[in-house]
């Protein structure tokens, strides 16, 4: 399958003298769950921030294909256009909700651009004219759909900040999905979740993939990565050291070396290798 949704070419990001990402190239295929893994400090989040427009890369190209053939160069777009025009949505490692607003309001803010277009520069909507009412109704329906998918429908009118941690993570995903993305980027979605929540997250991510949205995720939890991803990219020191299916990655000597360090041939059952092997 050659339908590529995201293609990163020679991406380099320098912070002063530090090169966080060094000549990274990879591709994510449409309809796949692509995972980016690597040890702490490998540059995963930096790659994410470059893709989602929070950093401007020092060099390289990031191209998104909204439809097959309909491509857009991401690293030239202003920050907010990444979600608006390129239809790349993201979640954050440390949750960033609008905590004082209700769950439903969070999901409506996510549909801001669509709704704003229906307000006739705000004037018509203030006067109660135009097609704003219908647009808002549709937006609430979309929000309701994602609230049902994430199991938050009963908390819709509660303040987002009052939700338990796991629910806040799900809400962030629901909010990102309300922007109707082509590519959803998740920065450690399973961080801090208990095993049961983690399983529910896997199901949610698979459900999202089945709607046709491609996913790119950074994850430490090998249980999540190995079970659901179609394609895994391993980073170390800002460089790609492996790229392939979960099965290939699990048996890649470079990867095992990166996670465990060298000279551990005597101990094949070391903790992280153990996680890699046993999690599938």
């Amino acid at each position: 399958m050659s339908d590529v949704v995201l293609s990163v070419t020679d991406l380099t990001m320098r912070f002063g003298g530090l090169t966080a990402v060094n000549g990274l190239s990879f591709e994510a295929r449409r309809g796949d769950i692509t995972a980016v893994i690597g040890p702490n400090g490998a540059g995963k989040t930096t790659v994410f921030n470059c893709i989602t427009g929070f950093y401007r890369p020092s060099a390289g190209r990031i191209v998104i294909a909204r439809q097959p053939g309909d491509t857009l160069l991401l690293n030239r777009l202003p920050g907010h256009a990444i979600a608006k025009k390129a239809r790349v949505a993201r979640t954050f490692q440390n949750i960033r909700l609008f905590s004082g607003m209700t769950v439903l309001e969070n999901l409506l803010v996510a549909q801001h651009n669509k709704l704003q277009a229906a307000t006739g520069f705000g004037v018509l909507a203030i006067l109660g004219l135009g097609k704003y009412r219908a647009a808002e109704k549709a937006a609430i329906e979309l929000a309701r759909h994602w609230l049902e998918q994430t199991g938050l429908i009963d908390r819709a009118d509660d303040a987002a900040g009052a939700l338990p941690y796991g629910a806040q993570r799900r809400l962030e995903i629901a909010r990102a999905m309300c922007t109707d993305p082509v590519l959803l980027c998740l920065d450690e979605p399973a961080a801090g979740l208990n095993p049961r929540e983690s399983v529910a997250l896997n199901e949610l991510l698979l459900k999202i993939r089945d709607t046709g949205c491609s996913l790119l995720l950074i994850e430490h939890d090998m249980g999540v990565v190995m079970k659901i991803s179609d394609h895994v990219i391993v980073l170390e020191y800002g460089k790609k050291i492996a790229d392939g299916t979960p099965h290939e990655i699990r048996n890649d000597p470079e990867v095992i070396k990166a996670y465990l360090g060298e000279g551990d041939e005597d101990d094949p059952d070391a903790p992280i290798a153990g996680t890699l092997v046993h999690s599938v």
């Binding site: 427009g53 954050f92 004082g100 409506l108 803010v109 704003y132 609430i140 009118d157 990102a176």
Partner: protein
């Protein structure tokens, strides 16, 4: 009883600070000597009483805090919140009816006009500070722009109040955008400093551009508003309000007319704000206040969102300034000092940022109370200051700090049987 010992120690520390503070103010007194020289006398007894009172007050306060929570005021505000549906219409009916109540003196209607002006300014600033979360310390600048726009346009181009009102608002909104651009990347304290400076710049320009604005002398003889071309002149001839309706001209007629103008302007501000809150734009402002980075990740254009908040907030200040100008008939830079910005900001913060009703209550306290206490002369500001401290201690997040959701799913809760 270690608690008592700790309280005593704390009270002693406070008393010591009081000694340092009161020492120069109460402890020593300059007097006139016989030979025209200055004498310096000390007043240890007075100083002692002040320090002892401070000690006692602090000790009692700590005891009181230990015993029970400050429930009285909390309960009162909770009641106001719960009956908010009832309080707001009651206040509105009172506001509409006030000039019609027989026996109400003009002075009270005039006070009503003043309070309402600040309510309008508070509601306008609430868009910027309460909804969008952009701390603006220079709000008076837009008030000044509105006032001077009206004064200058009406005198130079001979336009009436009603023709100038939208122009003033528009010009103020333009200045809002003009200020907005350089501060787009700033937040919190840094934003506050720049807006503070902007307010001062506007005032200094007005003061020093003598050829245009008359400088410190201000502008005199600004036109009063007319009602469909009828003015409120005391002469009472044809073409005046009194002459047209064949009644005796009274100052009360003009004051009542001004009262209803500002009431309508304030209600317009309120209505637009309430409508905008339920719009994507209003929600984007609130989202901006909550988390700017998340807003960007959702494709919200931060620049436009911030600029519209500045522009719409400034526009209402411009309307209010235009009204102020026509009401006073005279404006000078002295009316647009930093203390005005601070007062309006205090109204918004005391009322509970984001709450429309809270702002009304806060404006009544902030503007009404000092005016009512006029007879108490020098103790006025003391009582006022104490009142502010008490409110901030008891309700640190403002008088009304709950937020009403802009939209509800309204799904009936499923009852499990």
């Amino acid at each position: 009883m270690t608690a008592v010992a700790a309280n005593l120690k704390d009270s002693a520390a406070v008393a010591f600070i009081a000694l340092l503070l009161f020492g120069p103010f109460l402890g020593v007194q300059l007097g006139d000597g016989n030979a025209g020289n200055l004498t310096l006398s000390t007043r240890p007894a007075l100083l002692g009483v002040a320090v002892a009172l401070t000690f006692a007050a602090r000790f009692l306060m700590l005891l009181w805090q230990g015993r029970r929570p400050p429930a009285v005021l909390t309960r009162l505000t909770a009641w106001v919140q719960q009956s908010g549906k009832f309080v707001a219409p009651a206040l509105l009916i009172f506001a509409v009816a006030l000039p019609l109540i027989p026996g109400v003196e003009n002075a009270y209607i005039d006070l009503g006009v003043l309070i309402m002006t600040y309510v309008m300014l508070g509601w306008g600033l609430n868009i910027v500070v309460g909804l969008a979360g952009l701390l603006d310390l220079g709000y008076v600048a837009f008030y000044a722009v509105g006032a001077y726009s009206f004064a200058l346009i009406s005198q130079n181009f001979n336009l009436s109040f009603w023709e100038c009102l939208p122009i003033s608002g528009l010009l103020a909104a333009c200045w809002g955008i003009f200020l907005g651009f350089p501060v787009l990347r700033l937040r919190g304290d840094y934003l506050a400093i720049v807006t503070l400076a902007f307010g001062e710049i506007i005032r200094l320009v007005i003061t020093n551009w003598v050829a245009l604005t008359g400088g410190p002398n201000g502008i005199d003889g600004i036109a009063h508003p007319t009602l469909f071309g009828l003015n409120f002149s005391m002469a009472g001839g044809p073409g005046t309000f009194a002459g047209f309706f064949n009644i005796t001209p009274e100052p009360g007629q003009r004051i009542t007319y001004l009262y209803y103008i500002i009431l309508i302007l304030a209600l317009l501000t309120n209505w637009v704000t309430l409508r905008l809150r339920k719009q994507p734009l209003g929600r984007a402002w609130e989202a901006l206040r909550e988390n700017e980075i998340a807003c960007r990740s959702l494709g919200i254009n931060l620049r436009n969102t911030k600029l519209t908040a500045f522009a719409i907030g400034a526009m209402f200040a411009g309307f209010a300034g235009c009204f102020f100008s026509t009401r006073e008939g005279f404006i000078s830079p002295d009316s647009f000092t930093f203390i005005e910005s601070a007062t309006v900001l205090a109204i918004v913060v005391l009322g509970g940022a984001g709450s429309q009703l809270g702002i009304v209550l806060a404006a009544m306290v902030m503007i009404g109370v000092p005016a009512m206490l006029q007879s108490l002369q020098i103790y006025r500001m003391l009582i006022f200051g104490i009142a502010l401290v008490v409110i901030m201690v008891v309700r640190p997040r403002g008088f009304i700090s709950t937020r009403k959701p802009t939209v509800l799913l309204g799904k009936p809760k499923v009852v499990l049987t």
